[in-house]
């Protein structure tokens, strides 16, 4: 009997590997191998037109990259965009989630409404806002003029001081729904009984929010923020469509693709890609560590 069990387990393990094999092969071909090649190309002088012919040149591509002020500007742009947009989205997402958590009619409809900006292509959102923000014919300038706030149309996406705030505002419109849905899911898992107990004890609603809701919700918020962070750090399409030629909103992803595809410089482009990979890996590692610490501190 015992040997039969062992035989059965070994057979089951073989089945497991057999069933996993296709997915592992695909992920190897589409993610792990290309990632390795990107790192390898970052040490070569390969060109996109003939990627087979290359020599190893050590860290030269990284020196070129780190001497380019535009690279550092795109790093600053990306970090600024990420920190500001994710902060606003978290605060706004929390507020709207609390609003939707009110036990009141029309909640389902609101949840559906809020899902729409998230589900459409970013390219479409960018085009839509580009049109509303048009300096001459855009509705925003029109309304501002009607209200007597401005005399001439503001060039929202051409003014170097305004373009980043505009991109952040559009991103907030696109991705706040995602935050709302994740935080709302966390809110709905909170036990109602503790609130009933708190109410009976006469704890004020604000105190209930700061002492009960926020700490209990912290893990859900932390996970939602991590997802948004990963997404914001690799932002590409919004800047590309809304302000494609502006250095003021160039993100690291746009920079790397430009060097790689437009300048055909596979070496420096891969070095930039590898640097982005490491940057995101480090941010994620730090975040996850701090998050676990938080969790322990909160005793959740």
């Amino acid at each position: 009997m015992a040997t039969m069990r062992i035989g059965l387990n070994a057979m089951r393990a073989r089945t497991a590997w057999l069933f996993l094999a296709p997915s592992l092969v695909v992920l190897f071909a589409v993610a792990l191998w290309p990632l390795g090649r990107t790192f390898l190309f970052s040490f070569t002088d390969a060109y996109l037109t003939e990627p087979d012919i290359y020599d190893y040149i050590g860290f030269e591509n990284y020196f070129t990259l780190f001497e380019d002020p535009l690279w550092w500007q795109s790093v600053r742009n990306t970090l600024f965009f990420t920190v500001i947009s994710v902060s606003i989205e978290t605060a706004l997402g929390l507020a709207i989630a609390l609003l939707l958590n009110a036990h009141i009619g029309g909640r389902g409809l609101m949840r559906a409404v809020i899902l729409i900006p998230w589900s459409i292509p970013v390219v479409v959102s960018a085009r839509m806002w580009q049109w509303m923000l048009h300096d001459q014919f855009g509705i925003l300038n029109h309304v501002l003029k009607l209200m007597g706030l401005i005399d001439n149309g503001i060039a929202w996406t051409a003014n170097p001081d305004l373009v980043m705030p505009v991109i952040i505002a559009v991103d907030v419109w696109i991705t706040t729904p995602f935050m709302v849905l994740l935080i709302l899911a966390g809110l709905q898992m909170l036990p109602r009984s503790i609130y009933e107990a708190a109410s009976i004890d006469g704890v004020s609603e604000w105190r209930q929010f700061t002492a009960l809701t926020l700490p209990l919700l912290a893990p859900s918020i932390a996970v939602a923020v991590l997802f948004r962070l990963l997404d914001a750090l690799r932002m590409f399409d919004l800047s590309f469509v809304l302000s494609s030629n502006s250095d003021d909103t160039k993100t690291v992803s746009i920079y790397a693709r430009e060097v790689l595809v437009n300048f055909q410089d596979m070496g420096v482009g891969s070095a930039a890609s590898a640097a982005i990979f490491l940057m995101i890996a480090i941010v994620t590692a730090i975040y996850v560590t701090v998050f676990r610490l938080n969790r322990r501190l909160l005793g959740v």
């Binding site: 089951r12 393990a13 089945t15 497991a16 590997w17 057999l18 996993l20 997915s23 695909v26 992920l27 589409v30 993610a31 290309p34 990632l35 090649r37 990107t38 190309f41 996109l48 990627p51 709207i96 609003l99 009141i104 029309g106 609101m110 559906a112 409404v113 899902l115 729409i116 900006p117 589900s119 292509p121 970013v122 390219v123 479409v124 960018a126 085009r127 839509m128 049109w131 509303m132 014919f137 419109w173 849905l181 994740l182 899911a185 859900s220 939602a224 997802f227 990963l230 750090l233 690799r234 590409f236 590309f240 469509v241 992803s253 693709r257 891969s270 890609s273 982005i276 990979f277 994620t284």
Partner: protein
């Protein structure tokens, strides 16, 4: 209890006014897109809040064979990605969710790590791989590349789902000597409807919307997908920008997604939160 009736009504009014503000903020851009797409020619440059209901922009964009072709391409890519990523993920999730074997945890971790890869980090390696496979400038390149963000996510969500099912359901079948393939097909597949809906919808939306790979791996107009087609519509100068056509094209690609979002809200939300809460 203590709260008076008037106070309560005030509370309700406040909440509904906030609902209205949020809904207006969310929906007005869509209204404006549709209204603008229905104005013809120069009328788009006059700011009037009601549309003219002229369909010239739609006629123009739909008689343009290239745009219809992009719509078709997007549909083919998104549908193929859904079928392929779900097929692979169901098999993998059975292995990871129902069988205890050595190496299970490292593999789960690997899938999670891959789902966090920034896509730009794979671009040059993937470019080489796609050329080597002979997929450059074909829809196949996108179907292949989109596995990066659909497959790990689907595997993760479906594995969590399969693990949550009671242990007994397949034991009799194993003892009867049913093949694993048969167990998956006859026992698990019929129970997985909602989970497959969620992951399938999310994979469809993500593939329909993807931009960077579609911009990079496709060279010619007739193989483009819609997001790239819309991003590349441009006029001869900044002042001749064909906004009417852009708004019409944007409306056409957005409507199916709005219908999906409204009809299958429940599944989309549960897929999103399953990925985040368990991930």
């Amino acid at each position: 209890m203590v709260r008076s009736r008037a106070n309560r009504r005030l509370h309700r009014i406040a909440i509904y006014s906030l609902f209205t503000v949020v809904a207006l903020y969310t929906l007005f851009p869509f209204y404006w897109m549709i209204a603008s797409s229905l104005k013809s020619g120069q009328a788009i440059f006059d700011v009037t809040f009601l549309p003219d209901l002229k369909f010239n922009n739609y006629e123009a964009i739909l008689s343009d064979g290239v745009f219809l072709r992009s719509l078709m391409n997007s549909l083919i890519v998104a549908a193929s990605v859904v079928v392929l990523s779900l097929g692979l993920a169901i098999a993998a999730a059975y292995a990871l969710g129902r069988i205890d074997f050595r190496g299970r945890s490292p593999i789960m971790f690997l899938f999670l790590a891959v789902s966090m890869f920034p896509q730009i980090a794979l671009l040059s390696g993937l470019f080489e791989m796609i050329r080597w496979l002979g997929l450059y400038n074909t829809l196949g390149s996108l179907i292949f590349a989109y596995m990066i963000f659909t497959l790990p996510f689907n595997i993760w969500v479906l594995t969590t789902f399969m693990r949550s099912l009671p242990r007994q359901i397949e034991e009799a079948a194993i003892m009867d000597g049913c093949s694993p393939l048969r167990i998956v097909r006859c026992i698990f597949l019929p129970m997985m409807g909602p989970a497959l809906m969620s992951t399938g919808l999310l994979a469809f939306i993500a593939s329909w919307n993807e931009f960077m790979f579609a911009l990079t791996f496709i060279l010619t107009d007739e193989n483009r997908t819609v997001p790239v087609a819309i991003a590349l519509i441009s006029g001869s100068s900044r002042y001749e920008f064909p906004y009417g056509a852009i708004m019409a094209a944007s409306t056409i690609v957005t409507v199916p997604l709005i219908v999906l979002a409204l009809l299958f809200q429940k599944y989309i939300v549960s897929g999103l939160t399953a990925g985040a809460v368990k991930g």
